[in-house]
Amino acid sequence: MLLYIAKRLGAGVVLALLVSFITFMLLSTSFEDVARTILGPSATPETVAGIMAARGWDRPAIVQYFDWLLHALRGDFGVSVYTSLPVAPSVIQRLTVTLSIIVPALLITAVVATFLGVWSASRGGIVDRISQGLSLVGYLVPGLLLAIGLVVIFAVQLKWLPATGFTPFSDNPAAWLRSITIPVIVLVIGGAANMTAQVRGRMIDELRKDYVRTLRTRGVSTNAIIVKHALRNAGSPALTVMSLEFIQMFGAALIIENVFALPGYGSFAFNASLQGDIPVILGITAFGTLLVIVVNLVTDLANGWLNPKARVR
């Protein structure tokens, strides 16, 4: 198991280095453009050269990359070229906001999808059709439309929840809960629709297998078969879907963050890309890559625990 973890970690490190290198090289062609953007329309070749030299952008790209990497390994990701704010704390702050929404949304999604998926797979009939209908509706309704609708009802009309903004948990837990409620609901509806179908499909396959029939003939109760046997066997692919859902939610979060004006990771990445804020883009890429690596590693470890055969890979 330790060797397995070491291999996965090694692959993760190589991937992180590759991603950061490619990103840096792609961005290195834009240094002059960014200098012109900073200086505005009155930029002259002299002032552009001045700012390039002052920020070290006139050095060879490979030298700059290793300079950046050495600093990054010490936790120094530089400062934003526009705001002068340090990149690492800014990214962590934004990541915290996004995870505040995504983690609860993912947990609720997992519970809802497991319950609905198992229920509809084991009961069938009208329950199954209702579950599938709900999944379809959740899948078809655009998240943006749903978000706007919920804001209009619960924030604008009823004034129960805030329409925009985010309160950190440390500031006020109750206000934090209110600020994430609608975004979480929107993510859960989209995520649960997708995952329920996956869990249902896997459970139907599992419940049709011979060992289940054998267990039934031995008089094992349906609930015990589902919880102790079928669910564990169906859990492995469901976990993979969940990890993909987690990463997908980061994409969905950009829309959610815009609608609710949340200072999250998605909107931060979007604005940095628009401005060409190179240190911020690199920081976001590095943290994003690490996050994906960690999520995949945790998923693989969980799969290995659920299914020992998976560790052989």
Partner: protein
């Protein structure tokens, strides 16, 4: 939004620069409020890049930084008149090569240090030496010196007609000489303005909370005890925040404005705060000979259905135009708006006459252009020309204009002052003339402008320049872009059109 970055004000009244002496500091915009003013909470589309005086961007970023820093001069939000602020008076010498500014006595920075002439000198000298967006504003400044504790003398290599207006914008911000070299001023600045940044409550890029300084030298002019600027780029989010009472002032889209409860909100139209136009970059026709031919440029002006664009794309908020100068200013001439009435047939005729039918022009496609691209492509096609839109990433938009690769560009440019707008659009080093076009007539006109210190005396020349520019069709102005402001809680908006976007544009009526 960078395209609207110079949303500054415009000179609505003639400024008597030589010997012009302000007599009093601006007074409160509050009009006999019945009760205490609320906390002002507004939405803005962009956060300030940096709060370092050498990197201050004009436009909506001013809401935050101009509350923290005093500018030497200001613009009257109702009239556009240049008015005293931290400098109680200003005066040019006869040939405009020296500007003397007298500071208000008793001003202090938020850390308690006094504001002196040395503070202004240190800030300006640093701006001149620091690569950044403010640096070019000082291109004609040769020296800045303190004459005494409250008197600053700015010397120029030659008279700069724009300079004094720029002192109401980023170039006029005053930093504390004791901490100008401290990197922390970019995020936690020390200014002498009416508000201080509440760093603990501020989330950079998202929410900026500013607390009023009761010890401010002109505190009565600022009725709001606190000022919160929320960066809400999504118009739906801004509208929801407004309706939910999370902000009490913000711009709204014309389509949704009727949804606001008239008992709670006041909607104020600002008819013109920027100009949307096609800019001919290759005015000499070096790469695209067709654009060097005035008949083709005029044909482009005839091809544009301005009314249709105003109503179809800008929801009727704004005003059609065939010139770029602020309609609230002195240079604007209503008669020029009949020069190129929509007539594609005439345009086609001119293109054929010039011998350029079938010509194709490359033009940058940016976030600013997406909604108007099909309309402009059709307009060109109607007169026998073609547009090829080339996607340009936002961070390359500035470089694209200066690259010489494009003959045309679509822009939305905020108003500054009449002199600054004249230079921006038509002078040899103007931002909107990146290929540095000039001709004998332009040289002569700018020669007169550059040597006439009194704006009222230079005004006929400015008007002549405007007329010449319209006739030469170096640009195809389309509409003046307006805005609908919704305010609540007794807050009102005061903006003649293109006023600098500062807290001064808000008043409290009680």
């Amino acid at each position: 939004m960078k395209g609207l970055a110079a949303l500054g004000a415009l000179s609505a009244t003639v400024m008597i620069l030589a010997g012009c002496t302000g007599e009093a500091a601006p007074t409160s915009s509050s009009s006999g409020a019945a009760g205490p003013a609320p906390d002002l909470k507004i939405s803005a589309v962009s956060a300030p890049n940096s709060l370092d005086p050498a990197q201050l961007v004009d436009g909506t970023q001013m809401y935050v930084w101009s509350s923290i820093y005093d500018t030497l001069l200001a613009r009257d939000s109702a009239t556009g008149e240049l008015i005293p602020n931290a400098a109680e008076s200003w005066e040019y010498n006869e040939d405009g090569t020296e500007l003397t500014l007298k500071l208000v006595e008793g001003m202090t920075f938020s850390d308690g240090d006094p504001v002196t002439a040395e503070s202004v000198v240190a800030t300006m000298k640093r701006n001149m030496a620091t690569p950044g967006i403010v640096q070019p504003r000082f291109s004609l400044v040769s020296d800045v010196a303190a004459e005494d504790d409250l008197t600053v003398k700015v010397s120029f290599t030659t008279y700069d007609p724009q300079f004094v207006y720029l002192l109401a914008l980023g170039a006029g911000a005053i930093g504390n000489e004791d901490n100008l070299t401290d990197p922390s001023i970019a995020t936690d600045p020390v200014g002498s303005g009416p508000y201080t940044l509440d760093v603990a409550s501020t989330v950079p890029g998202t929410t900026y909370v500013l607390k009023k300084r009761e010890d401010y030298w002109n505190a009565d002019a600022y009725p709001f005890p606190s000022f919160t600027v929320r960066v809400l780029q999504d118009p739906t989010a801004a509208f929801n925040a407004l309706q939910a009472g999370e902000i009490n002032a913000g711009t709204v889209q014309a389509q949704v404005a009727p949804q606001l409860d008239p008992n709670s909100f006041t909607v104020t139209d600002v008819e013109a705060q920027a100009v949307a136009y096609l800019d001919v970059l290759d005015r000499a026709g070096d790469k695209w000979p067709a654009l060097g031919d005035e008949k083709v440029r005029q044909a482009i002006n005839y091809a544009i259905d301005r009314e249709g664009i105003l109503n179809g794309i800008y929801s009727g908020v704004g005003k059609v135009t065939q010139q770029v100068f602020n309609p609230a200013g002195e240079v604007y001439d209503e008669a020029l708006n009949d020069t190129y009435d929509y007539d594609p047939a005439k345009g086609k005729e001119l293109v054929e006459e010039a011998g350029y039918a079938g010509e194709t022009f490359q033009i940058p496609s940016t976030f600013l252009t997406t909604s108007i691209e099909p309309t402009l492509s059709q307009a060109f096609s109607d007169i026998g020309l073609n547009l090829e839109w080339v996607a340009v990433p936002p961070q390359q938009a500035q470089s694209a204009l200066q690259s010489g690769e494009y003959g045309l560009t679509f822009q939305i440019t905020g108003f500054n002052s009449d002199p600054a707008d004249a230079f921006t659009h038509y002078s040899v080093n103007g931002d909107r003339n990146p290929q540095h076009y000039t001709d004998a007539t332009l040289d002569e006109l700018f020669g007169t402008i550059d040597s006439t210190v009194e704006f009222s005396e230079a005004l006929p020349t400015y008007k002549e320049l405007n007329e010449y520019a319209v006739e030469q069709a170096w640009e195809a102005p389309i509409v003046f872009v307006g805005a609908k402001w919704a305010t609540a809680d007794g807050v009102s908006i005061v903006n003649y059109g293109g006023a600098p976007t500062t807290i001064r544009t808000f008043a409290f009526a009680g």
